[in-house]
Amino acid sequence: MDPMMPPPVRRIAVDRHPYVAPAQPAGNGHGPAAAAVATPAARLRAARAPVARVRERMRVESLWLAYGENWVVRDVSLPVRQGEVLAMIGASGSGKTTLLRSLNRLTEVTAGAARSGRITLDGQDIHELEVNELRRRVTMVFQQPNPFPMSIFDNVAYALAERPGRGGRRRRRSPAIEHAVDDALHRAGLYDEVAGDLDRSALRLSGGQQQRLCIARALAAEPEVLLLDEPCSALDPISTATIEELIVGLRESVAIVIVTHNLQQAFRVADHVAFMHLGELVEYGTSEQVFDRPATQRTRDYISGAFG
């Protein structure tokens, strides 16, 4: 746990108040003029209006994961729903990132990874799916922004579904591809900042822009589930606010799982929270349950900053 982080529970209480009783009249946050003047927190609250349709996309069933002889995830079961943001919180070494990476089988890249239990995507065991097909349906954004050393356009175009038979080698900038790239950049809230020059190297963007480019790239694959591994931990507060808003806005079209060390962030963006400790899922519930009425002493200790 980051020692610089303030004890979170007090801050949550402060943040929490306007959420319960919005200071602004309802509906004000939706107009463009109001959105421009509203604080990030207010915009986030507006975006967090409940999503009408929530449905389960993935299910983790008594999952055990190991690197070598070391079981880092122990008997975890939880659902991943579209229309909701699921945040996984816990101290370093609690297995939350490993669990996240197992959802698109990225754990298999590491030598010596072992697994027991089942993960399903729309009822189908993900280990029966072709791995690259799975990873197109369940894409991931990493802790460090990792754009490819190529242009902004190419970064996003790389993720677009390759059409078999045409050989993805020399990709023409067809109108369809340009449209798909623009669309992904729009969804990631980056379009207006980079529209003028999509041929610029992606490495020249700022850290926050790079991370949104990575989100655009992950969205361009048209995934059903988006995994985010501490996407804001390398970013400044303003970029973080932009991305949090984005995450909340996206949860209607894709199921979102976010791993975070930042409890306030979990509270701001998540509908459900999973608290993990030493590989075990200690508590799973709605954001309100876990933060306001934690069922176990360990959860209470963690969110009040007693350890971590």
Partner: protein, 343 residues
């Protein structure tokens, strides 16, 4: 970020304190001696390099004429009738092009396999040792080995077959193929260094988008290490251009290009001919030609070609700088006997 526009500065007239220069007076004697030796060696090396270039420039320019660049050499003891060195220049370019075009794809492929696959690991270790052996073998040894191979009768189509059926094993093909062995280790090392430098998160980012390992290598990794590949290739080309032993043994030291048969390109490549290095050697006082003027002029041209190549390397590396860079520095670390132009 915007600070570059409004460079902040203390008010005019204020005293600006800078850290004092590191003084050696307080150092132990041995450290001071070492320190000054480093200086002396550095300056000395610069003087040597400068002397070589200046000497070659003065000597070369005084004997060089444009006509020499466009005329073939001719057998004559009279200097004014012995022609220029067009054929050696062509020979050098042919060998360099042939050698690098064989070595570059093979070298990149080996580097990718060593860096990205490495399985089974005993094979990877064996390949690494094999590359070290090739890199360490003197070029004259490689040349003898090449002669042994290319003189086999089933490889006769790559060189000249005498009426008796004996294959002489000397041709641009043979020389180019063995030259490729000179360039290969440099290309492998440079590409591998580049690949090793790429963070794993780049690979994971691609896997996480549902791309296969092969696609990741082809479209992400190889394009990211392009400056490193170019660096290795240019360095390898420099080694090829500078080598004499392989040319002498596998190409002979004829005066002009001697194609075999009538086929335009293949005939030339099956044939033999001179390169600048053998031309210089033969015309220098050490060789038979005893035409040092020509040797100086040709040596100057050779130096220009190699320096030009170094310039290209520097340019390629600085262009690649934004995506990691340092390819040249890394490559030069592998060959300690070459100067590092980027300081």
């Amino acid at each position: 970020m915007a600070a570059t526009e409004l460079a902040p500065a203390p008010p005019a007239g204020s005293v600006i304190a800078r850290a004092p220069r590191d003084r050696t007076a307080s150092w132990p004697l041995i450290d001071r001696v070492g320190y000054w030796l480093c200086w002396a060696v550095g300056i000395g090396l610069c003087l040597v390099a400068l002397a070589i270039v200046a000497f070659m420039a003065v000597k070369g320019l005084s004997y060089l004429s444009l006509g020499q660049l466009v005329h073939s050499p001719a057998p004559s003891v009279v200097q004014s009738q012995s022609g220029g060195f067009l054929d050696p220049i062509e020979g050098t370019l042919i060998v360099a092009a042939l050698g690098t075009s064989i070595a570059a794809p093979l070298g990149v492929a080996i580097a990718v396999w060593l860096s990205e696959y490495r399985r089974p690991s005993w094979l990877a270790r064996t390949v690494e040792s094999a590359i070290e052996i090739v890199a360490g073998a003197p070029s004259v040894v490689l040349a003898l080995f090449g002669l042994l191979i290319f003189a086999q009768s089933f490889l006769g189509f790559l060189s000249q077959r005498a009426a008796t059926g004996v294959v002489n094993g000397r041709s641009f093909f043979a020389a180019g193929a063995v030259m490729a062995l000179l360039a290969l280790p440099l290309i492998v090392a440079s590409t591998r260094e580049g690949l090793a430098q790429l963070p794993d998160r780049l690979r994971e980012a691609s896997y996480a988008l549902g791309r296969t390992r092969a696609t990741t290598i082809r479209r992400i990794l190889l394009s990211a290490v392009r400056p490193d590949i170019a660096t290795g290739t240019a360095l390898g080309m420099g080694r090829i251009i500078g080598d004499t032993a392989i040319i002498k043994i596998l190409l002979g030291a004829g005066l002009t290009l001697q194609p075999v048969g009538q086929t335009p390109v293949a005939g030339l490549l099956r044939g033999t001919g001179p390169t600048l290095t053998t031309y210089i050697y033969e015309n220098s006082p050490a060789g038979e030609g005893l035409a040092p003027q020509k040797a100086y002029a040709a040596a100057f041209v050779l130096l220009l070609i190699v320096l030009g190549l170094n310039g290209i390397v520097t340019w390629l590396t600085s262009r690649g700088g934004q995506s990691g860079g340092g390819g040249l520095n890394r490559a030069f670390r592998l060959i300690p006997f070459m100067p590092n132009p980027s300081g």
